[in-house]
Symmetry: C2
Subunit: 444 residues, 2 copies
């Protein structure tokens, strides 16, 4: 009987466990999870801070019932002997160490929120948004705070800023780069989002970074290049880094991104050791370069492959198009593929078109703007990126564009796709098609 | 200078005109339209009856400004000499006849609502939902009516039934076939929709047809196989038929569906005569059989091709996957490809799976059910149909499935697509992927 050990039980680990369970119905599966609880939903944390999810403890759940899967919470994996195929674990409650033999091991150790080493970063009331405990601590601090600074305008930063503003705080969002959501939007698209956030009362500082966090014991202000702002809460949302300490001590090879290096079967350099999720290096299918994807959806897709292969299957994970969505005040912000900046970095000379259409026919009430930007490479006109802003359907449109990119579709082909229409649902001119046609006029 | 004449100015004709305008910037374009106004939005009529669109006259618009395009409203095309390439037109206001020479002609004459030849069909207050005038007449009749019968539970029938119910009428929906929306949903999916309509107060009679409409001058009751129901309004929504009178008198060949026969360039058998839209035979890309598509989106896609080719271009319309959406009481009902019945009729032995998931994570408020059904052929597991019910994103998911079918994707491939996720927008388990995985378990 095969023994599959999985380290980590977030999106990748959970998916690996349930997939392995389906592929090999007899294997014994052991999950090692450091947290005292089995399952959490970290993507929900900003919305618990904002109050949409009324009780943050709802984001914690017991392990799902999977036959012959043992989930050992409050347990840390401390060492791996990749020759003997053993893993050393430590029960965090009683301190007991134990060694497990594995036939296959899945490293799904996730990531940790990065805190830049600036003065004051360890002051009280400086938070990251990573665990339910982080979220609970922020919620507890809300009543005593008036001003909040959110550092980093990626998806988590945007979501956290909106959450704190909804709770009545005076929120400033600080982004080092010249535009917000730089990983997923071109500056022109990001400007529309920034305007939307500013309309709701969020102050936005772009092209500025935090130099210092000041305060006695707890934060009272932050210092940027050009100004000093009062702050009783600071949220640091400048990105996550792969949690690879265990991989390192075990001699599992890392890629140049800092994530665990894997082949398309998600095998590491160590025999029968797989990796999946935020700790693992992914591959950008457009630039053909290693990347850190660090999305829950990537973790799930990787978890399926690592879990299947750990159970003796032969599944393939080929990489990512970086399909992402976030939402602020009802505006869906979705993206897939590369931005213009990323495309140029990778040697493309992208041609793009941006259109503004309506979610519904102009005569129908509740018609709202949809903005679509498409990027193609100029030689064959193949799609390499898409960005969509709108109150509905942006996520699904990004998904369609991801599929179009995967299938190597050109702007010409996208302009001819079939779509459906009904006045209460969408307009008879599909925004993606309108954008593709605008692109074709530019490419003529 | 080329003279392009377009007969009809709904979706196909309008699109043909604007496309021809772009392809040949010098051509003179003349549009012949029988209606006294240039543009109308017939798909909006049920929603004007229901009151969502407050003023039905908003569905009428003047012609868009297109340079060197003359739109002759209240003008009927009465004959075509396909040898001499002339078309005879008649001004309906002053009765003046005129002959125009054309270099290219586009027939976009649309369709008419079919009324079955049953006793009483011509009584007062028996309506179809086809023109703005039909809609206005129904609205005018609302205040004197208490009971309405809608005959035919296709998209228009469903939309009309919901509209009349919203206006306070006691509505019965009568469908001859054993389940509603038979052209787009399997019975199990249709049952969910029927339940939703019944919850809102609509009475549904399936497997029954109207035998007679009774009344003195105006309708007072209808007689079905098994019962008689009082009715002060009857809406007949049993489908539309291609408007091909002009084509017939001109000797333009019709296909066996009754629509104008065209090749993939949308050329008819007559030289330089093209056809597009409801009057034109389409081609089902799954069954490889001629079909009448009769959707506004098909008309638009055909209009682009016919317009481009009439202007000297070389565009191709290959056919349709029958991608459709309708909406009733906030439930989006979308479909693409073939139903199980249509698949079997075409010689497939489809395998299907149906899943019920959530639009958002279970812990997020406003998470609503999404039901997805997928059909594949059992040999290669290629997708041949998809049906989606949900309060949001159903239309865009059907569009993605249409693209997946177009690209010959298998259930295995669909289970591996990349998608995005954020709690306020969608769940981390994409319903289409969950459905594809359910299908794979069945196919094992």
């Amino acid at each position: 009987m095969r023994h599959i050990v999985i380290v980590g039980f977030e999106s990748a680990g959970l998916t690996a466990a349930s997939t392995a369970r389906m592929v090999d119905r007899k294997a014994k599966i052991t999950v090692i999870e450091r947290r005292p609880y089995a399952i959490s939903h970290p993507c929900g944390i900003p919305f618990a801070i904002g109050g949409e999810v009324a009780d943050i403890q709802k984001l914690i759940e017991p392990a799902p019932r999977l036959p012959n899967v043992e989930v050992r919470t409050a347990t840390e994996a401390t060492a791996i002997d990749t020759k003997k195929q053993t893993i050393e674990i430590s029960d965090l409650k009683v301190g007991k160490r134990e060694e497990l033999k594995y036939d296959a091991l899945v490293l799904a150790t996730g990531s940790y929120a990065f805190k830049p080493p600036i003065p004051g970063i360890d002051l009280k009331n400086v938070y990251v948004v990573k665990t339910v405990e982080d979220g609970q601590a922020i919620i507890n601090a809300l009543s005593k705070a008036k001003n909040a600074i959110v550092v980093g305008a990626g998806t988590i930063g945007i979501e956290a800023a909106a959450a704190l503003q909804k709770r009545g705080l005076n929120v400033s969002l600080v982004e080092m780069l010249p535009s917000i959501l730089p990983g997923m939007l071109d500056p022109d698209m990001a400007d529309s989002v920034a305007e939307h956030l500013r309309d709701k009362g969020i102050h936005i500082f772009r092209g500025q970074s935090l130099k210092e966090i000041r305060g006695q014991e707890q934060v009272s202000s932050v210092v940027m290049e050009e100004q000093k702002l009062p702050a009783e809460i600071v949220i640091v949302a400048v990105g996550v880094k792969p949690e690879v300490r265990l991989a390192k001590v075990a001699g599992v090879e890392l890629g140049k991104t800092g994530g665990i290096k894997v082949n398309e079967h998600l095998r590491t350099n160590a025999p029968n050791v797989y990796a999946a999720g935020d700790c693992t290096e992914s591959f950008c299918l457009i630039t053909k370069r290693p990347v850190l994807s660090q999305l829950a959806t990537t973790a799930i897709r990787m978890g399926k492959v690592a879990g299947a292969n750990a159970a003796g299957g032969d599944a393939v994970y080929s990489g990512t198009f970086n399909t992402v969505v976030t939402c602020a005040y009802g505006l869906e912000i979705a993206s897939t593929g590369v931005t213009t900046y990323a495309a140029r970095q990778a040697g493309f000379a992208p041609v793009s078109a941006r259109v503004r259409t309506l979610s519904k026919p102009h005569y129908y009430p509740s018609a709202e703007p949809i903005i679509v930007k498409l990027l193609v490479e100029p030689r064959e006109h193949k799609l390499i990126g898409g960005q969509v802003l709108g109150t509905e359907g942006a996520a699904e449109r990004a998904n369609l564009l991801a599929l179009a990119i995967q299938k190597g579709m050109t702007a010409e082909e996208l302009a001819r796709i079939e779509y459906c229409y009904a006045p209460p649902v969408c307009d008879c001119m599909e925004p993606l098609v309108v954008a593709a046609e605008a692109l074709l006029r530019k490419l003529k």
